[in-house]
């Protein structure tokens, strides 16, 4: 029996799953605003703190903070994708999906692409929300002029990194959703996981200020590289080379997406 690529990766099914995810997303607007609320408050209140530029890589605190909060938004909204797997299971719609003549790979890809879109949308919304609070994009070349080209390249690259961050945490969410079958269990585990990931990522403070053992943990946190890359792309300052950020995120994304796909496939048969 021969297997065609179109049978395994079915673009029209992936599009269909994506379409549903986006329709639902824009229909449940209150949920969106709710999930943006917390990052927005973090940004609004922390930006008021009188933080010396010398302690945050010579940046104004809002410029240091905003990329971190965008990372936080992506993290939170991506874990919602896992929650939607559980929702679908609880409301039975998962069965309608699983009985369709569509490969499991396409189903997972559709989920991930759909989750990425909604998560990216929220990340970009947060970026826009940062401007009225004084955030300014300086673009990529560190120390250089904020030319239009630098800004353009910086923004485009930051979108690429947002995609990688979303992929990483959607994969993680789907993996956990496949293991923990009910909503309360998932929320509990996610709370215990998501907040450490956020606080360790250096979204609020530079990693240099962390005790040594915490810094070790931070290096194992994919969001650390995501926030670092966003900061480099948007305000031109970062701790690691951009290529290292990219490699780390591409690796974490590949691992969690594969793990999510594997566990989902096993859980749903």
């Amino acid at each position: 029996m021969k297997t065609r690529i179109a049978d395994v990766i079915n673009p029209s099914a992936i599009y269909t799953l994506w379409l549903r995810e986006t329709i639902r997303f824009f229909r449940l607007r209150s949920r969106v605003l709710g999930s943006l609320g917390m990052p927005l408050f973090f940004l609004a209140f922390l930006a008021l703190l009188p933080v010396e530029p010398s302690s945050v890589h010579g940046l104004r605190y809002i410029d240091f903070l905003a990329p971190g909060i965008i990372g936080m938004t992506l993290l939170f909204s991506s874990t919602f994708a896992g929650l939607s797997v559980i929702w679908d299971r609880e409301f039975g719609f998962l069965r309608e999906i699983m009985v369709a003549p569509v490969s499991r790979v396409s189903i997972i890809l559709g989920r991930i692409v759909g989750g990425m879109t909604t998560s990216m949308f929220q990340g970009i919304l947060m970026l826009l929300a940062a401007f009225p609070m004084g955030f300014r994009i300086r673009g990529l070349p560190s120390g250089g002029e904020a030319t239009t080209l630098a800004i353009l390249i910086g923004v485009l690259l930051s979108v690429l990194f947002m995609i990688l961050i979303s992929a990483t945490f959607i994969g993680m969410g789907v993996a956990f959703a496949s293991k923990l079958k009910d909503m309360s269990g998932y929320s509990l585990v996610m709370n215990f996981l998501v907040f450490p990931i956020f606080f360790l990522s250096g979204a609020l403070f530079p990693l240099d200020d962390f005790p040594r053992w915490m810094r070790m943990l931070a290096y194992a946190d994919p969001l650390t590289y995501g926030v670092d890359a966003l900061r480099r792309c948007l305000v031109g300052v970062g701790e690691f080379p951009l290529l290292l950020d990219f490699a780390a995120l591409a690796l974490s994304g590949a691992v969690t997406v594969w793990l999510g796909a594997y566990l989902f496939e096993r859980a749903e048969g």
Binding site: D7, S12, A13, Y15, T16, L19, R20, I23, R24, R27, L28, F91, G92, F93, L94, R95, E96, I97, M98, V99, A100, P101, V102, S103, G269
Partner: protein, 353 residues
Amino acid sequence: MDAIVAERLTKCFNGLKAVDSVTFRVREGEIFGLLGPNGAGKTTLLKMLATLLKPTSGSARVCGYDVVSDADEVRRRIGVVFQEPTLDIKLTAFENLDFHARMYGMGKEERRRRIREVLRLVGLEDKADVLVENFSGGMQRRLEIARGLLHSPEVLFLDEPTLGLDVQTRKSIWEYIKERNEEEGVTVVVTTHYMEEAEFLCDRVAIIDFGKVIATGTPESLKASCGSAVITIAVDGSAQSRSRNQDGVAEAERLAAILSELEFVEEAGVRGCGRGRGSVVEVNVRGSGETCIPELVLAAAKAGIGIKSLSFRKPTLEDVFLKLTGREIRDEGEGGFKDFVRWTHVLWHRRRR
């Protein structure tokens, strides 16, 4: 060709045989019923045929394709309406159908035409743009059936399609399923624990209990095994029996024993006893039911047993189930007595193994 061939199909859940070596065939174009009480294994059996559960052992072919090795081919050719709702309530009726049509690879024109068609068939054409969360249970059920038929499947699986619906809705859904079967020629497999449903809808029925098929046939042939009529006799246990310090149950048992001896009686037994009140004997008779009645009354009188009332009816599938298992099929609610019976049954069989 047969639409479905199941051979020694078995599914175990942690040692519990939910489906136990089931073998049956469904012919193309027929409405086939799986009738059995709650927990009999109907849903499990259906899920295996619909490729959602892998059999522990045994095999099944749907439209000629193996449900394990050719799952995708099977999925393309079947429509499934599950026992629990599987609609996205945050989408409209149209969006739910559109999602389905796209997942089954239907083109734009075909999609639009078929969606309009099935919505009209289930009488929801003016509700196309309403969110499903605002639908009543009956409307949701109709929408699910419409969706199951949207991609013109060769076989439609319906798991308890009218569970929890009112009589009116139930009737209209039955009519609708029958029409689809007659007009589009779709083969239908329907599970139910409502015997009226099985009798009204099905060309053939398999009766299933504790994971095993215990009888298969047309509703008529199955009922014929219970004789031509069921006569219910309420024994008057008040007068003589009290003086003899006996209750109605004993009287009824005595009557059942006497009637069993009559040559036209297929079977006689005591049913549902009320304390202190007269008990009930049910008699399955062969031949013409009406002519038996005088003989039964005579036999009771000879034995000195009073009869309070007597009624006469045609046998139902309920009687068939009762005869085969000694229990009633009636719904006693999830997780109630039926589960208890099931577990004692399981433990009993384990111990004997």
